[in-house]
């Protein structure tokens, strides 16, 4: 969609000019599509006139297809609910040791939690676990099915690029040239969050039904250890989110908007 070539667009624009500009206010898709047909006649138009105020074309990329944007936001909301309610649940027994004697590991302020009390927090947790799981599964299915995962998946080839990028971000090193939609450090971060998501979902299943999924509990090293993995997955998300938000803030409005509209204006990379 919307990948009309520059030349064709120019042809249409010239045509429009000669019709005394911008009267066809049809839908954007129609106008982009009609560009192709118009393109053929383009060269016939007197170019001298058209050059007077040739409309500026914007470089743009349709970066995030609808399933990605949809699951990103459903995931963002459910992750917020799962963490906030999960911390409230953890408050009920803030330890990974025995009940007797109980050692409080972390005293999480109530203000950071959701649900009001253990029962309320569990209600939020048991409701949003379905949204979290559904968006995660839809995301993975789409990424694999469309082949789009190649833009995100961190592979051994990306290893070499991690340090230069980290040096640029954290130690004011030179900026490595942009190679694609995501740089190696981004790929590492995004791929990790997919890992955290899978881990939190599988360990969550064990904590929810340890007897029914005893084989899965066994894989994670038993009920106790699973509780620690589940908490660790949350820590993983919590370590990702601030960096993610800071980077979004630093990269400006057009980058942020691209996760809403799919379109990024003036991407940094070529091709």
């Amino acid at each position: 969609m919307g990948n009309g070539e520059g030349n064709n667009n120019e042809g249409r624009n010239q045509e429009e000019m000669s019709k005394e500009g911008g009267q066809d206010a049809g839908s954007p898709l129609e106008s982009v599509m009609s560009a192709k047909a118009d393109g053929a006649e383009g060269p016939a138009v007197e170019s001298a006139e058209a050059k007077v105020d040739e409309p500026v074309l914007v470089r743009a990329a349709y970066e995030h297809p609808l399933p990605i944007r949809l699951t990103h936001w459903v995931n963002a909301i459910s992750l917020f609910v799962m963490v906030a309610s999960g911390l409230r649940i953890f408050r009920a027994f803030p330890s990974f040791g025995p009940k007797i004697p109980e050692k409080v590991l972390l005293d999480i302020p109530k203000s950071l939690t959701l649900g009001g009390w253990l029962g309320g927090a569990l209600q939020w947790h048991f409701t949003f676990m379905w949204f979290f799981a559904a968006s995660g599964i839809l995301y993975l299915a789409y990424q694999v099915g469309s082949g789009h995962y190649r833009t995100v998946l961190f592979t051994p080839r990306d290893i070499a690029g991690v340090w230069p990028m980290a040096r640029h971000y954290f130690f004011f090193g030179p900026k490595p040239p942009a190679s694609g939609q995501y740089n190696p450090l981004q790929k590492l971060a995004y791929t990790s969050t997919i890992g955290f998501g899978v881990l939190s979902l599988l360990t969550g299943i064990v904590l929810y039904k340890p007897a029914q999924f005893s084989w899965l509990a066994f894989l994670f090293g038993g009920f106790h250890l699973t509780r620690i993995w589940h908490f660790a997955a949350m820590c993983g998300f919590l370590s990702f989110i601030p960096g993610h938000l800071i980077m979004v803030a630093l990269h400006g409005w057009s980058n942020f908007v691209s996760m809403l509209s799919g379109w990024k204006r003036e991407p940094e990379y070529q091709e």
Partner: protein, 241 residues
């Protein structure tokens, strides 16, 4: 893939694509407490339904060697109010009601005469802690046979000496490890652990394991708002593991 677009086309396409995200905004309804209270309750009901579907009556919970059982002193006492409701153990009987052929009062000796099962299983609290304990009693299914219960009924309701009350699904009641428990660690139940009789089901969370039993009722209808002490305040009714 880089595209070159006129500014107004880019803006229009962006708007169209943004509108397609509208369904996500529906989740915003959770920001309104009055609505969200009901929605998250519905979420728990849905989860309970799924849990009921997942439950397998013949799938046994893990059992443990005697060496893995925590010492008796480290098995917590838990209660919602008083830990010892001062049950008259001498004259105690269990009242059986509802969809059964032989309702009435049953003595502890009648229950103890049924085949006994001893098991070391994990007791999991909704708070997140767990202990492995040693329990002894008779499978609930034995007792249901004794009283001629209609096991086609849907629920088992219990009432307790401390005014606690609970209800469980029949499938869980019939699970081979679900006990009418009268012993812990080889000794008769002590008062604070629910003497003389409690539920002990390794496929259920702790708050389902009602103590100081007084009444058992077989039924297919639960009174709304009277399904369990904690459940009526928002805990999952199924409470399964």
């Amino acid at each position: 893939m880089i595209t070159r677009l006129e500014d107004k086309d880019l803006k229009r396409q962006s708007r169209r694509q943004l509108l397609k995200l509208a369904p996500v905004a529906a989740l915003g309804i959770f920001a309104f407490p009055k609505v969200s209270d009901r929605l998250v309750e519905a979420g728990v009901h849905f989860s309970d339904w799924a849990a009921g579907v997942l439950f397998r009556t013949q799938h046994r919970a893990q059992t443990f060697a005697d060496s893995e059982v925590v010492p008796f002193e480290k098995f917590p006492y838990n209660g919602y109010d008083v830990l010892d409701p001062e049950v008259d153990l001498e004259n105690w009987t269990l009242t059986v009601e509802g969809d059964v052929q032989r309702p009435g009062e049953y003595k502890l000796s009648q229950i103890q005469a049924l085949p006994k099962l001893m098991q070391n299983t994990r007791h999991v609290c909704v708070e997140g802690w767990d202990v492995i304990g040693a329990f002894g009693g008779t499978p609930i299914s034995n007792f249901l046979t004794l009283v001629g219960a209609n096991t086609g009924a849907r629920f088992l309701e219990v009432e307790c000496a401390d005014d606690y009350y609970e209800s469980i699904d029949m499938a869980s009641a019939l699970h081979p490890q679900s006990l009418l428990c009268y012993e812990m660690y080889g000794e008769p139940l002590d008062r604070k652990h629910g003497a003389p009789l409690r539920l002990q089901m390794p496929t259920k969370l702790g708050y389902k394991q009602a103590k100081y039993l007084e009444t058992i009722r077989v039924t297919s209808v639960l009174k709304p708002g009277k399904t369990g002490y904690w459940e009526d305040q928002g805990y999952s009714w199924f409470g399964g593991l």
